[in-house]
């Protein structure tokens, strides 16, 4: 089992550790509720060093990445970060990732821990047609996510410069020993900080000392469900396309050729991703979604008690062919069907700018 550079810090803080994607990760420190509220109302810090970092360099850097992923990577200006699925020729999703446009001929791609090997192989496969060099630096980088409305205050308190703190949303910046981006997975304002292990330990300790709440993966999952961010393995996975998971906005057919384009152009989605709020009961991954005739029409892909709304919330895949005309949904919990309201907007919006 892999351990992040902060393993001992987590132990010192009495974190509950669990195996996750081959890593021993902190799932919670104090309570999920307190950690979620810290991020929504103040500021929290997550160790997400298990994530993978690939670097692409060379004259064809952006041409190459643009061919690999579905979103448009070439049009946004330098220093932007771009979220995108990466698909197979048949349109199914290999992973979702963020591309950081560091320099004209150099980019970093941050991928999910569980998919590092799969992504690396998929990316390598297309490399020879382009003038690029690839490096997997996942072992050299740790990653912290500092999230919450008081992020700027917290980072300025430990000496981060105004050049860093003025970064616009979804932009990135490289200093001598860090790559910083105004990105995150909570819906709140925040930064993700890629650095070597000792630098990361130093930042972590300073933030904890300054009273920033250490937050675990359980809080992170609840936070991302509240703002309806997809999770690889749940809303998107090897068997679905981005068009099955409300990610049409990330598939840019006008940008030129990319892996999966041909299939996706004519693809008719099998699923529609819906957002459900329950009056009572807590939906969980795998629970059935049923219509008013008690027929099963879908599956909950992510469910939790929302700490912020104090209600059960779910993201669910509903079969397009059985989508109910009356727009009425129930979630089946232990053989009982619980009333839901379908929402078109995210369950809540955070403080990100």
């Amino acid at each position: 089992m892999n351990k992040t550079s902060l393993f001992e810090e987590h132990t010192k803080l009495n974190a509950k550790m669990v195996p996750f994607a081959g890593w021993e990760m902190p799932i919670q420190y104090t309570s999920v509720k307190d950690e979620v509220l810290a991020v929504r109302k103040k500021v929290g810090v997550f160790d997400v060093s298990h994530m993978g970092e690939f670097f692409v360099t060379g004259p064809d850097t952006y041409k190459f990445i643009n061919y690999l992923v579905t979103n448009d990577i070439e049009s946004p200006e330098m220093k932007k970060a771009v979220y995108s699925p990466m698909c197979r020729n048949n349109g199914t999703v290999i992973d979702d990732l963020i591309v950081y446009k560091l320099e004209e001929e150099r980019a970093m791609i941050c991928v999910n821990a569980a998919n590092i090997d799969k992504d690396w192989n998929a990316i390598k496969e297309h490399k020879d047609k382009f003038n690029v060099k690839l490096e997997n630096k996942s072992d050299s980088y740790s990653l912290l996510a500092v999230q919450g409305p008081n992020t700027v205050e917290a980072l300025s308190g430990i000496g981060f410069s105004s050049e860093i703190l003025d970064l616009p949303y979804y932009s990135c910046l490289e200093t001598e020993d860090m790559i910083l981006a105004r990105t995150g997975y909570t819906g709140e304002d925040g930064f993700e900080i890629f650095a070597n292990h000792s630098k990361t330990k130093d930042i972590w300790s300073k933030l904890i000392e300054a009273g920033v709440a250490p937050c675990g993966l359980a809080a992170r999952d609840t936070l991302r469900i509240e703002v309806c961010y997809p999770l690889y393995g749940n809303e998107i996975h090897d068997e679905v396309t981005p068009l099955d998971a409300a990610l049409k906005w990330t598939v840019k057919f006008k940008k030129g050729d990319f892996v999966g384009k041909k299939v996706l152009m004519d693809y008719r989605p099998k699923f529609r991703l819906v957002k459900l709020v329950l009056d009572k009961g807590i939906p969980r991954t795998g629970y059935e979604v049923v219509n008013s005739n008690q027929e099963v029409i879908g599956t909950v892909t992510s469910g939790t008690m929302s700490v912020t709304l104090e209600k059960g919330i779910a993201l669910a895949h509903v079969d397009v062919s059985n989508f109910p005309e009356d727009d009425i949904f129930f979630v089946r919990i232990r053989n009982k069907d619980y009333n839901c309201t379908r929402q078109t907007k995210a369950f809540l919006t955070g403080s990100h700018k």
Partner: protein
């Protein structure tokens, strides 16, 4: 983990407590259980009149991220349930021994002998984490 284990109660290996009064067993979850579960946000209890088997699931307690079954310490009939926990599940965290869940009319008093006393349960908690 330090945990509160009142001497006057009986315990199960599923981390439930029981209080015996005549032929009625009052059941809840222990301090150890509430602390391991974390913030309890949902409690589902059986209807009065339902019969339960020893070791059978009688209800569910959910935290933000987990679902756990509740197992009956004895066989019998549910004669009362604590409706307050359905609207205020967090009471299980703040007052585990004050937050009784169900009262069971005991069918087979012999089953009570299998429950642990506080000393034995304390030992059990030591070895189960």
């Amino acid at each position: 983990m330090s945990t509160n284990i009142p001497a006057e109660l009986k315990y199960t290996s599923d981390h439930e407590w029981g209080k015996i009064e005549d032929n009625i067993l009052t059941v809840g979850i222990t301090d150890f259980a509430q602390s391991s579960l974390g913030d309890i946000v949902f409690v589902e209890l059986p209807d009065v009149g339902t019969t339960v088997d020893k070791g059978g699931a009688f209800g569910v307690v959910e935290s933000i991220k987990s679902v756990s079954d509740l197992y009956s310490p004895v066989t019998g009939e549910i004669i009362e349930k604590n409706d307050e926990l359905e609207s205020s599940p967090e009471l299980c965290n703040s007052d585990a021994y004050g937050s009784w869940m169900i009262k069971i009319k005991i069918s087979n008093p012999g089953e009570l002998e299998e429950l642990m006393d506080s000393g034995k349960y304390a030992e059990f908690c030591q070895t189960s984490h």
